[in-house]
Symmetry: C2
Subunit: 139 residues, 2 copies
């Protein structure tokens, strides 16, 4: 289980040509291993690295499209690993972000149906959808 996440972390760092430092491997594998999108506070607790290093590492990994912010609301930011659709230079997410109002878990979910937004007089470049509700486990 955990070894899979560690291997995933090493592979993705290699594929992006990034140094395989212990903080980076730990950070990626911890997010990858987490059941849902990982809150920053949990991430910080799970690592021994300095707070500054964590912030810098998170930014590096987001720039390289290895992870993305799944939710940024109020005080807590949630991070999730990007899927294969994200290249090294461009995030491309066709999922939405769901937060369960009971267990508070944030997850990336795929819509069953296709949706198309139309706005008058505005050119749409990107759409971000956040949904609140109750997840399967909490019903």
């Amino acid at each position: 289980m955990e070894e899979v996440s560690i291997q995933f972390a090493k592979d993705v760092l290699k594929s992006r040509g990034l140094k395989q430092t212990s903080t980076r491997v730990a950070l990626i594998s911890n997010i990858h291993n987490y059941a849902a999108a990982m809150p920053y506070t949990a991430l910080q607790k799970s690592l021994e690295a300095d707070r500054t290093t964590i912030y810098r590492t998170l930014n590096t990994l987001m720039d390289e499209c290895i992870i993305h912010k799944a939710k940024e609301k109020g005080n807590e930011t949630y991070y999730a690993v990007c899927g294969n659709e994200c290249t090294s230079h461009k995030h491309s997410h066709n999922h939405i972000h769901f937060q369960c109002t009971v267990c508070k878990k944030v997850t990336c979910e795929t819509l069953i149906n296709e949706i198309h937004l139309e706005l008058a007089k505005h050119h749409i470049e990107s759409v971000e959808i956040n949904v609140n509700g109750v997840c399967d486990e909490c019903r």
Copy 2:
């Protein structure tokens, strides 16, 4: 122009049974008078009140559904006045939030078409949509 916003502020405070303090009237009328959703920093600059008072007033007005956060991303939070659909106890927004990537303005926009989201195994309670693009003036 400005008198309209001041009158609007007084009316809405009265309708909610809130004290008409100078800070509240100024805060509501400034947001109401602003061309788009108002960034917190601009809001703070436009008022003489203490930072604490501004935060407490913003929270009070959000609790009473007089204003709402139009965007909360990165460092800056944007506030906008609620429409008539919001009652004193429940926010009810059928608009989306749009940010122009050129002029950075955040606005509340209504979708031309109706959309319906479908998620497997999840009960949907509320949906929040943020769109980035180019507004009419910047094209």
